[in-house]
């Protein structure tokens, strides 16, 4: 089944190879990526979005908060691991304190009591850890079903999924059910963002790619990335001329 979908994605991707525009150096595989993007978009519009919209319409916000918290709590353990790997011990301890309080007092994570106690939720994963260790993003990639990524984050995502506590859940049908619920919740939370993307972008693929690369760079540096060097051609105009038009 998965092999067949992958084959279909590949065919769609190769069909996209026909067009040759000037390549963005950050995205050397653009034609392939655009093909997978189209495939993902089709799956999203046909299945993921309708399911997420129905979920949001049928399930009350209060319950959706509980579901989000439950999966957030499962994620916090490895967020802590990644903070330790990045040498941010205080953050790591805080993440594990979140797990301890939310799993017990918060009834298996459905109530985020730790946030009320001042333990803020963080955003970390293995891709960010590699970035912190000095790995650049590498070429931009669009992964089938998972969407925007790059070489570094793709490897990171592989480890994230491999290490995920949900993998230990048995029986299997319960595990698959939980994964399905987790993705539905995630997609539902992104419904507004994807609608804004539709409205804002001239070329959705480019807009989403650039936003992804900016966002990941910001996350690697925890919101305070060093100033980016301007591309070669912009030099000379970057500071004074460009900035203040009138």
């Amino acid at each position: 089944m998965i092999a067949r979908i992958a084959a279909a994605a590949l065919v769609a991707a190769l069909a996209g190879c026909a067009s040759t525009a000037e390549r963005d150096p950050r995205d050397p595989l653009e034609p392939l990526n655009r093909g997978i993007y189209r495939f993902n978009d089709t799956v999203d519009q046909a299945i993921a979005q309708p399911v997420a919209r129905t979920y949001r319409r049928v399930v009350p916000g209060e319950i959706r908060d509980r579901v989000r918290n439950f999966f957030g709590n499962i994620g916090d353990f490895f967020i802590g691991v990644n903070n330790f790997l990045q040498g941010k011990f205080e953050d790591g301890v805080s993440d594990w304190a979140r797990v301890a309080f939310n799993t017990t007092v918060g009834l298996f994570g459905i109530h985020d009591v730790a946030s009320d106690m001042g333990y803020e939720k963080h955003n970390e994963d293995f891709g960010q850890t590699f970035g912190r260790w000095g790995a650049g993003p590498g070429p931009y990639l669009v992964l089938p079903f998972l969407g925007s990524s790059d070489l570094r984050d793709g490897i990171g995502t592989g480890i994230d999924i491999y290490a995920d506590p949900l993998d230990e859940v048995r029986p299997y049908h319960l595990q698959y059910g939980l994964w399905a619920l987790r993705f539905t919740q995630l997609r539902a939370d992104l419904l507004d963002a994807s609608r804004i993307l539709e409205e804002a972008a001239l070329d959705k693929y480019v807009f989403q790619r650039d936003a992804y690369l900016q966002r990941r760079r910001s996350l690697v540096y925890d919101g305070e990335p060093p100033r980016e060097k301007q591309p070669e051609e912009d030099k000379g105009a970057e500071d004074d001329k460009d900035k203040k038009p009138r």
Partner: protein, 216 residues
């Protein structure tokens, strides 16, 4: 008789004082105060307005026009988004580009506001010297069970007060994000092509939101 006259002159004086005080006030409000008061003002107005909450987009855009737009420098935003190409544009092209980009941003902003549902804001203290003329005002949107979303406003001091020239949401600069898109279109079909492209996008957006309103 004297009473009415003194009343009239008092009113006239008040009007005059107001007229002269207004532009002065706009200059004096520090950037972080400005962001805070505009944000809270807009959120409050939306909360009170049943029509906007029921999805009246025209009214929401009216509100944004009146309350938010005066604090944005769209010419600067368009210039930054275009980069090098801006210098090659004629003044007529610059005007058209700024208008179309402004319409696009306002519509996008309206969508973002429409999705707002009582999240709390945290206004960060300004980290800048009083003499600075280019600052970043940081706001964080707090939400249940997720990391807060940082919103950074890049602001520049002008003769008519502090103006926003870029917004960063979660580390993504709006202006930088349009740069590749704009440059791709300019490379393929020139600046006029970009103007055409933007206005087509704005028209289709208008039709889409009209259709969405009709469905409701």
């Amino acid at each position: 008789m004297t009473k009415t006259r003194s009343l009239a002159s008092a009113a006239l004086f008040a009007l005059f004082a107001l007229a002269t005080a207004l532009p002065l006030r706009a200059q004096e409000v520090p950037p972080d105060q400005l962001v805070k008061s505009v944000t809270l003002d807009v959120v409050d107005l939306i909360a009170k307005d049943k029509e906007i909450r029921a999805g009246n987009r025209a009214k929401l855009i009216e509100l944004i026009d009146a309350k938010v737009l005066p604090h944005f420098n769209f010419a600067a935003m368009t210039a930054l988004a275009l980069g090098q190409s801006w210098n090659k544009a004629t003044s007529e092209q610059k005007k058209r580009l700024t208008e179309e980009f402004r319409t696009l941003l306002v519509r996008t902003y309206a969508s973002a506001l429409a999705a707002y549902s009582e999240q709390k804001f945290e206004f960060r203290p300004l980290r800048a010297k009083p003499t600075d003329t280019d600052v970043t005002v940081q706001v964080r949107v707090l939400q249940v069970g997720a990391q807060p979303v940082p919103i950074d406003y890049s602001m520049e001091k002008t003769a008519s007060g502090w103006k926003v020239y870029d917004v960063m949401v979660g580390g993504v600069s709006l202006v930088a994000n349009y740069r590749t898109e704009f440059n791709n279109v300019v490379r393929d079909s020139g600046i006029d092509g970009l103007v055409k492209n933007l206005s087509a996008k704005n028209r289709s957006g208008l039709e889409a939101s009209a259709a969405a309103a009709a469905r409701k």
